[in-house]
């Protein structure tokens, strides 16, 4: 069996630059200007899962993203990991999308790809962390979908055995293809990019589709197609404040515990938790 696999990825701000990320007080959106992006880390687990299945069964891996034009860099990285082709959905009309409009646009992109057997998404993004897009995408496409996937076992050409993590344990499923799997970081260890992969990626196609290329209803795209409106959202004030405490060691310790409790830290009362015998030395 040759599998046609699609992996959805999202460019997210590079964690090294998190101190430069802020939220626009008017539009309530994350300001990303000038901040380099990386592939959302858990999406790399999706790429790895796709490449493993391809190595096992043959087929083709397509990476797909909806992002501004400079996301070609992230797509090139996915191609260097070993994906075969990349599609960038990029149009001003897609801007300002919430998860619903994003998943709708991705669904339209995937429909344009025509055939697919499996779609991989990461469970959630490192920036928005809504964890909604993968399930919404499965719904738009009308295919079975599972979220928080920890293990995949291909059983036949038609179905996979999949293990997902739920609150109190795991669930095992048999899922029919075509399907969508939202994968967890625990699923695998994404491979490193190789120099050979970088060279091969040069000749792999990156296709860009805009609004006109998709058979999409305009009112479902971008900001206009987004029913979610952010309420109060702000950058917290992370300035540290020092406070000098006075008194004996015991009094200071009591004050620290009181203050920590007041700040919401759960500290057991004396005798319940750990006890300190003999006091501190040196």
């Amino acid at each position: 069996m040759a599998l046609k696999i699609v992996v959805c990825i999202k460019p997210v701000p590079d964690p090294d630059y998190y101190d430069k990320v802020s939220i626009d007080p008017v539009t309530k959106r994350i300001t990303r200007e000038g901040i380099p992006t990386i592939i959302n880390p858990v999406d790399k687990n999706g790429i790895e899962a796709a490449l493993k299945l391809k190595a096992q069964y043959g087929g083709k891996v397509t990476v797909l993203t909806m992002a501004p034009p400079n996301a070609t860099e992230n797509l090139k990285e996915a191609l260097a990991m070993g994906a075969d082709e990349a599609v960038l959905l990029s149009d001003r009309a897609f801007g300002g999308a919430d998860t619903l409009a994003t998943s709708y646009t991705l669904a339209k992109g995937i429909e344009k790809l025509e055939e697919y057997d499996i779609i991989f998404c990461g469970t959630e993004s490192a920036d928005g962390a809504t964890a909604q897009v993968s399930s919404q995408l499965g719904e738009w496409l009308g295919i079975p979908h599972l979220w928080n996937v920890y293990n995949i076992e291909a059983q036949s050409e038609e179905s996979f055995k999949v293990k997902t993590k739920v609150e109190n344990g795991f669930m095992e499923w048999e899922i029919k293809l075509p399907c969508l799997l939202g994968v967890a970081r625990e699923l695998n260890k994404p491979r490193f990019i190789s120099a050979m992969g970088i060279i091969k990626a040069k000749n792999k196609p990156v296709t860009v589709w805009g609004k006109e290329d998709l058979e999409a209803e305009e009112e479902r795209l971008g900001l206009g197609g987004s029913p979610t409106k952010a309420g109060a959202i702000f950058t917290p004030d992370l300035k540290r404040k020092g406070e000098m405490l006075t008194g004996t060691a015991e009094e200071i310790a009591e004050t620290i515990i009181e203050k920590l409790r007041a700040a919401g830290v759960n500290i057991p009362t004396k005798g319940e938790g750990c006890s300190i015998e003999g006091g501190a030395q040196g």
Binding site: E73, K76, E77, A80, F192, I193, S194, A195, M196, G197, I198, I199, K202
Partner: protein
């Protein structure tokens, strides 16, 4: 002049090697240094990433990139472990001799496994009598009944435990009585051949350096690189460009380590109620460290770019090697000064940076040797 910048592919390669180094090298670098352990287990992984065969053409199992890309790989790895950096750079060094001077058969026989990292390569030139007295070496190679018979002792050989060894030896004398050298491929396991004592080095620990013993070592006649008499040229080409490029890249990696560690410490260390990065005296040190890093980087990548453009680059690599090794010593000392007492605590890597930088000076020719090369070139190139 064209604007000097790395290509998109080179940037992506840097990112890829950095991810590898952060995950597989950084967490263990201090331990390798302390235990003087060479992580041979990483060579097959570096093979998969194309790092071992970075400048070897694809037909021999390499990535088919160039020496700029090689410098990127060594810099990124040496940012965390200069010891692994020199083991890798020496692996490249031996491979470059086979690639540049080997027959098609020799290249096909040895390079694929060296690229894959299932075998380790080395180059043995230096002898107890000295490394830079190239033609004064005592190791001999004699052609007897269709076999080369090698006898002698090499010392200060990094990767002396290698599987595939390029070894120089005296094959005879020319009509003016000067030694003629040959370069030979000797495989591990050949009777009479093996590593001798292992040195306990100040720095660049985690790479194995020691003697190579040749006692009536018989190898096939076809194991010579080029022909008898080419050994000097082969050794000099490898050391002069590939070796010094490697040492320079190691020190650029150490210099970046100094910049990053100095900035981190200066921002975190609070004295008199504010981070020491607010103090001008500390800022001057940081400016010096940064400047030395940038200057060394430019010299290295300029020389490597020249080599990739097939231009003679030996003086450029001598300048890059001379500057970057000395700058790495100065910068790691400055970083230690900036850190006060913390600088000498081995929980921080700067002490290791200083030891590694000092140990980088003699490898590939001391600073004095580089100065002689630079002066020799300058006195003829700048003659009115």
């Amino acid at each position: 002049m064209q604007f000097f910048e790395f290509t998109e592919d080179q940037e992506l390669l840097r990112k890829a090697v950095r991810e590898f180094a952060e995950a597989e090298v950084a967490p263990k670098a201090a331990e390798w240094d302390e235990k003087d352990y060479c992580p041979m287990e990483l060579f097959p992984m570096m093979g998969e990433l194309g790092i071992n065969g970075i400048f070897t053409p694809e037909e021999y199992g390499g990535a088919g990139m160039g020496h700029v890309e090689r410098a990127i790989c060594i810099e990124e790895i040496s940012r965390y472990s200069a010891g692994l950096g020199i083991a890798l750079m020496t692996h490249h060094l031996g491979m470059s001799s086979i690639l540049d001077f080997g027959t098609e058969e020799q290249k096909k026989k040895y390079l694929p496994e060296l690229c894959a990292g299932t075998k380790l390569c080395g180059l043995a030139v230096t002898e107890p009598g000295g490394g830079s007295d190239f033609s004064g070496q005592k190791t001999t190679a004699e052609l007897v009944d269709g076999q080369w018979v090698l006898n002698g002792r090499k010392c200060f050989i990094t990767n002396h435990h290698a599987d595939v060894n390029v070894i120089t030896a005296v094959t005879g004398v020319d009509e003016r009585g000067r030694n003629q050298l040959g370069a030979f491929i000797v495989e591990k396991g050949t009777p009479g051949f093996g590593p001798g004592r292992k040195e306990n080095k100040l720095g660049l620990r985690g790479s194995v350096t020691g003697d190579v013993i040749l006692n009536e070592v018989k190898i096939p006649e076809g194991n010579i690189l080029g022909k008898a008499g080419d050994g000097g040229k082969i050794g000099m080409a490898a050391i002069g460009e590939v070796g010094r490029a490697g040492m320079s890249a190691i020190c650029v990696g150490i210099l970046r380590g100094c910049v990053e560690e100095a900035v981190k410490f200066a921002n975190e260390r609070i004295v008199y109620g504010k981070p020491i990065s607010k103090l001008q005296a500390v800022q001057f040190e940081i400016a010096n460290i940064r400047t030395e890093y940038e200057a060394a980087k430019m010299l290295l990548y300029y020389a490597a770019g020249k080599k990739d453009a097939k231009l003679p680059a030996t003086p450029d690599f001598a300048i890059a090697k001379y500057y970057s090794t000395e700058a790495a010593v100065r910068a790691s000392k400055r970083t230690m000064d900036l850190m006060g007492g913390y600088g000498i605590i081995n929980e921080y890597p700067v002490g290791r940076f200083l030891r590694d930088a000092l140990a980088s000076i003699p490898s590939g020719g001391t600073s004095h040797i580089q100065q002689l090369i630079i002066a020799g070139n300058t006195l003829s190139a700048f003659k009115a």
